[in-house]
C-alpha cells in the first residue's frame, strides 16, 4: 500500500518547554502549522507511524552505540524530561510491524540494532505531542546516532530511507512516516543559540524539491558547520529517500532565537505521497 503520510519537523525542547519565550507571532504560526499537519496525519488514518528520530543520551551511550536502532517494544514511555511540559505518556508500539521492518532492512543489506526497551525524550515526544496528541497511534521509532562520531553518512541515510520506503509500500498496513530534528542549531556547544536561516532555507528547498542527490551529498563537516544539532537532519534525508524524489511542501519556517533553533516543517501532500 502506498505510504499514506509523510512529514518532517524540528523538535527543539523550547517548542513546548519555554514556548512563551518565542515572539508570539512566530509561536502562533508554528503552532498553526503543526495543527495543519496533525489534521493531515489524522485524515490519512495510519495504522502505524515510523518515526525517524534521534535522542540525546537518553537510551544509548558510548558503552554501545550503533548507527540506527529500531524500537520493537510494545510501548515506549516518555518524555524522559520532567520539564518538557509534555504530558507523561505511554506510546503504543507495533512489535510485529517492527520485526517485519527489521527483517526487510536486513534483506536490503542494512543491519540496524533493535531494542525491546526504549524511552522517548523530547526528540520524539515533541513531534508526537503535536502530531498524535491522543498517543493512540502505534509508533515504531528508529533512532539515528547523530551524537557520537562517527555518524552515518547522508548518502547511507538516504539509502536506508529508500529501504524503509520500499518496505512501507509493500506493507498491507497504512504507514505514516515522520522525520524529526534540526534545523541549524548547536545545543550545549560553543555556538549555542546561533541559527543560520540561509542554510535552513536551502536545505528545506532541497527537501521540498526532492533533490535527493544534493541531500545525499551533505558531508558530516557540512552539517556540523551549522551546529552539532544539525546532524539530526540525517533523518530528514532518510525521509527524502523513502519519498524517492517526490516533492513536498514547506509548511513553515521560523528562526526562533529563544528556542535556539531554526524550526522547519515540511509535509508531503497525501495525494502526492499516495500517488
Amino acid at each position: 500500500m502506498p505510504i499514506v503520510f509523510a512529514s518532517a519537523g524540528s523538535h527543539a525542547p523550547g517548542i513546548t518547554a519555554w514556548a512563551e519565550a518565542a515572539p508570539i507571532e512566530q509561536k502562533q504560526r508554528l503552532y498553526r502549522a503543526y495543527d495543519d499537519v496533525q489534521a493531515a496525519l489524522a485524515g490519512s488514518r495510519p495504522d502505524v507511524l515510523i518515526l525517524l528520530t534521534s535522542e540525546h543520551w537518553s537510551n544509548f551511550f558510548l558503552d554501545h552505540i550503533g548507527a540506527f536502532c529500531v524500537g520493537r517494544a510494545g510501548h515506549f514511555d516518555g518524555p524522559v524530561e520532567p520539564w518538557l511540559k509534555v504530558p507523561k505518556s505511554r506510546v503504543p508500539g507495533h512489535p510485529a510491524f517492527a520485526a517485519e521492518l527489521i527483517d526487510a532492512l536486513y534483506a536490503s543489506d542494512f543491519e540496524p540494532s533493535f531494542s525491546h526497551s526504549m524511552e522517548l525524550d523530547h526528540g520524539s515526544m515533541v513531534p508526537l505531542h503535536f502530531l498524535t496528541p491522543s498517543m493512540t497511534t502505534p509508533v515504531v521509532p528508529i533512532m539515528f546516532n547523530t551524537l557520537a562520531s562517527p555518524q552515518p553518512s547522508a548518502r547511507r541515510c538516504l539509502a536506508f530511507g529508500q529501504a524503509i520506503g520500499r518496505f512501507a509500500e509493500r506493507s498491507q498496513l497504512r504507514v505514516a512516516l515522520v522525520a524529526t530534528g534540526g534545523l541549524s542549531h548547536d545545543p550545549g556547544e560553543k555556538n549555542h543559540g546561533v541559527i543560520n536561516p540561509e542554510f535552513d532555507r536551502r536545505f528545506l528547498g532541497e527537501m521540498a524539491a526532492g533533490q535527493t542527490d544534493r541531500l545525499a551529498a551533505y558531508s558530516t563537516a557540512d552539517l556540523m558547520s551549522q551546529g552539532a544539532g544539525t546532524m539530526e537532519l540525517l533523518s530528514w534525508v532518510a525521509l527524502a529517500g523513502a519519498m524517492q524524489g517526490r516533492k513536498g511542501e514547506i509548511v513553515a519556517y521560523e528562526a526562533v532565537k529563544p528556542w535556539g533553533t531554526g524550526i522547519g516543517l515540511i509535509c508531503y501532500p497525501v495525494g502526492a505521497a499516495a500517488a
Binding site: W57, S58, F61, L62, D63, L147, K190, G193, A228
Partner: protein, 84 residues
C-alpha cells in the same frame, strides 16, 4: 579512553536520581567509582566547565550537568567558549 569514564560519570549524575544524590552528598567519594585521570578528577571536583569541555565532554552532557549546579546559561556559554 578515559574520557569515556568522565562522560559516563556525568551522564550517570544527569540521568539517575539515586546516583545524583550520592554525587551531591559526597563528590570526592563518588568519583572513586570511576577510572578518571588526575586532570579529569580535578576538573570535575572543581566543576570547572572550561576544563571539562576542553577535555572533550559532549555539550549535551555538560549543559544538563551545569544546570544541576545552577549555572546560568550565559555563564555556561562563557565558560565553554574560554576553552581552546
Amino acid at each position: 579512553m578515559s574520557i569515556y569514564a568522565l562522560q559516563k560519570l556525568i551522564r550517570d549524575v544527569n540521568r539517575d536520581p539515586r546516583l545524583r544524590e550520592s554525587y551531591f552528598a559526597g563528590p570526592e567519594q563518588f568519583v572513586t567509582g570511576y577510572e578518571l585521570t588526575d586532570a579529569e578528577r580535578s576538573a570535575l571536583l572543581a566543576v570547572d566547565l572550561t576544563r571539562l569541555y576542553g577535555l572533550g565532554v559532549h555539550g549535551l552532557l555538560l549543559k544538563p550537568f551545569s544546570i544541576l549546579h545552577s549555572v546560568p546559561e550565559p555563564e555556561y556559554l562563557a565558560k565553554i567558549r574560554e576553552s581552546a
